[in-house]
């Protein structure tokens, strides 16, 4: 109260104002100290939590022990895996599968999300719910029947077969994410377009989709992570080494070289870099809060 009254008070000029500003300065100093304490505590906690990840980076650039018992730092481990293992093939396979999954899962989610957001009624509610049920089934139930079907279709040991399963597996979440994002776009915008003669499709493309880039990016990041990180589907479906994705390649390399940590960690670094880079660059667009909104 006195903060606004004191300077203009004609009765008690001077003294109280100075005392007040000193108090304020002390308070500001205390606040600043408190904020920096927070930073220090958080730094310690974060370093502890990320220790397993630092370990990977550190071991990947550490080379064999010297006679003196010390280690040298080099990229030898990387040269070794690039020359001795088909890591480029794994990387290429992972990229192909992941990009294919991301593109299709986002397109399907962007399309289905629109009716899920704008239509009301039992059918659409039931559909949203069945997407949820399917999403929560143990993958192992569908893996065996799909393997049988894909074997007869010639898709069993192929990258496109695996990508199709990832698309179906991440589709439920991309649909919810897109529906949740469309919910935040006022329908008045489309109505204005309809009044101007736009079709439903025209309004969707020109008005809704154009305002949904953050939602599209969220859905893309999600399906990217699903496809890049999956282990179970790839391990069941991909049998020949030239078709291995990075998780399978890394795992089989790890099993053959269990004690030779340097090259194993170098391959781990190659596998963790793409999702980490994607997240570091795009994380401010990523929001999974929207998942919750679609479940009602």
């Amino acid at each position: 109260m006195s903060s606004t009254a004191a300077p203009i008070s004609p009765v008690r000029p001077g003294g109280p104002v100075i005392a007040h500003s000193e108090r304020q300065a002390r308070k500001a100093r205390r606040e600043r100290a408190k904020r920096w304490t927070k930073t220090v505590v958080m730094t310690v906690l974060t370093l502890l939590i990320l220790a397993p990840i630092f370990m990977i980076l550190m071991l990947s650039v550490r080379s064999g022990q010297t006679a003196a018992g010390t280690y040298t730092w080099s990229f030898d481990n990387f040269t070794e895996i690039f020359t001795r293992t088909p890591v480029f093939t794994y990387l290429r396979n992972s990229l192909v599968v992941t990009l294919g999954t991301t593109v299709f899962a986002v397109i399907i989610g962007a399309l289905a999300g629109y009716p899920m957001s704008r239509l009301r009624g039992r059918f659409i509610r039931g559909y949203t719910l069945s997407l949820f049920v399917v999403q929560s089934l143990p993958v192992i139930i569908v893996v065996i029947p799909l393997f049988v079907v894909f074997a007869t279709l010639g898709l069993a040991d192929t990258l496109s077969g695996v990508a199709i399963i990832f698309i179906a597996g991440s589709m439920a979440v991309t649909c919810w994410m897109m529906a949740g994002y469309y919910d935040s776009i006022p329908i008045e915008l489309e109505e204005a377009a309809w009044v101007d003669g736009a079709t439903i499709w025209g309004g969707f493309v020109r008005v809704v989709l154009r305002n949904s880039y953050p939602g599209i990016l969220s859905a893309a990041i999600f399906s990217f992570l699903v496809a890049w990180n999956d282990y179970l589907v790839a391990t069941v479906f991909l049998r020949t080494q030239s078709n291995y994705t990075l998780p399978i390649g890394l795992q089989s390399f790890f099993q053959q070289n269990a004690t030779d940590w340097g090259p194993v960690m170098a391959m781990s670094v190659i596998m963790l870099l793409p999702p980490v880079i994607v997240f570091a660059v795009l994380n401010r667009f990523f929001s999974i809060g929207g998942i919750g909104g679609a479940i009602k």
């Binding site: 399907i108 065996i144 589709m171 309809w194 809060g289 479940i295």
Partner: protein
């Protein structure tokens, strides 16, 4: 597809939330349901071909004694009875329960704590926000590799540390108790960032004036969190719990790549148990039946939480 057309409800029905759901576009755009149906079509086709069909196929497998040699004979519910009488099934069920309840709850507490801390500005806040998501972003195959490095052999960092602290020689992965602990700690490590994200977006919906009012009423920081903030965001909390429980119960690679379910099945979850039945013992029918029992549990959990979600107050 004509179902879609008859399902549009009157526009007078009040929407729960502001935004697009308030009005039905059909009111303004009669006869355009075909567009909407066409937009749903790709996802419906995928849902039927890659989920519904395999599901029915799997129901058939679960009532046969199929294996590597063929689809097998019809045995009715025999596989389910075998599961419910199998001590290994119940051991896996017990560990799955422990694994899920402990890791989901502890991950939530940690994630909630970080979300609360990261609400206010302090130097480096946005950097921490990204860095703390890394355990969730890093592929499980990679993180299990590095956790293996940290615990697997007596000369690994954690056993070395434990020796230095006077705990003697601890064979972390060879001992049932420590193996269970490390699997659960690993899962907490991988799940708390998800909780942090969910709680972070939930907290954004909390009106600062509500909190300010309780502060002026003399509520302590703990009281404000416990009695003001948590009740407001109870709905997103239940959603985060149910999603994390489903992810955890279905989690295959964390357990399989860290311990392989051992030592002596002590860390085998139901999903790992089902995987081994199918792909290592080639008892397809039995394995799929176990997977359906997992599904039954997942559905029960979902129904329980959805009841609570619907009773919970809405965050604005």
């Amino acid at each position: 597809m004509s179902d879609v057309m008859t399902s549009g409800e009157p526009t007078t029905k009040k929407a729960k939330r502001p935004g697009g759901r308030e009005r039905n576009p059909e009111a303004l755009h009669p006869g355009r349901k075909k567009t909407m149906a066409a937009m749903l079509l790709p996802s419906i086709i995928l849902l039927i071909a890659l989920n519904a069909y395999p599901l029915f196929y799997a129901v058939g497998q679960s009532v046969r004694d199929g294996g590597i040699t063929g689809p097998g004979e019809f045995v009715g519910l025999e596989n389910y009875r075998t599961a419910l009488q199998d001590p290994a099934f119940w051991e896996a069920a017990r560990f799955t329960l422990l694994f899920t309840v402990v890791s989901v709850f502890v991950a939530w507490v940690i994630g909630m704590g970080f979300a609360l801390v990261l609400r206010r500005a302090f130097p480096g806040k946005s950097v921490f926000k990204v860095l703390l998501l890394l355990p969730w972003v890093v592929p499980v195959v990679v993180s299990t590799t590095s956790w293996n490095f940290m615990v697997a052999t007596p000369s690994s960092p954690i056993p070395t540390l434990l020796r230095a602290l006077g705990f003697g020689d601890v064979q972390i992965l060879a001992n049932a108790g420590t193996a269970m602990a490390i699997v659960i700690i690993f899962k907490i490590w991988g799940t708390f960032p998800f909780m942090m994200m969910m709680m972070n977006s939930a907290l954004q919906a909390v009106d600062p004036s509500v909190e300010e009012a309780s502060r002026l009423d003399g509520a302590s920081r703990w009281q404000r969190v416990r009695h003001v903030i948590l009740p407001i965001i109870s709905k997103p909390i239940y959603i985060a719990w149910v999603l994390a429980s489903i992810f955890t119960i279905n989690d295959f690679p964390s357990v399989f790549l860290l311990t392989g379910g051992g030592p002596v099945n002590s860390t085998s979850t139901l999903v790992v148990f089902a995987y081994r039945l199918v792909f290592q013992d080639f008892r397809t029918g039995y394995g799929v039946a176990v997977a359906f029992l997992i599904t039954a549990v997942l559905i029960a959990i979902s129904i329980y939480f959805f009841r609570r979600i619907n009773r919970a107050p809405m965050a604005n």
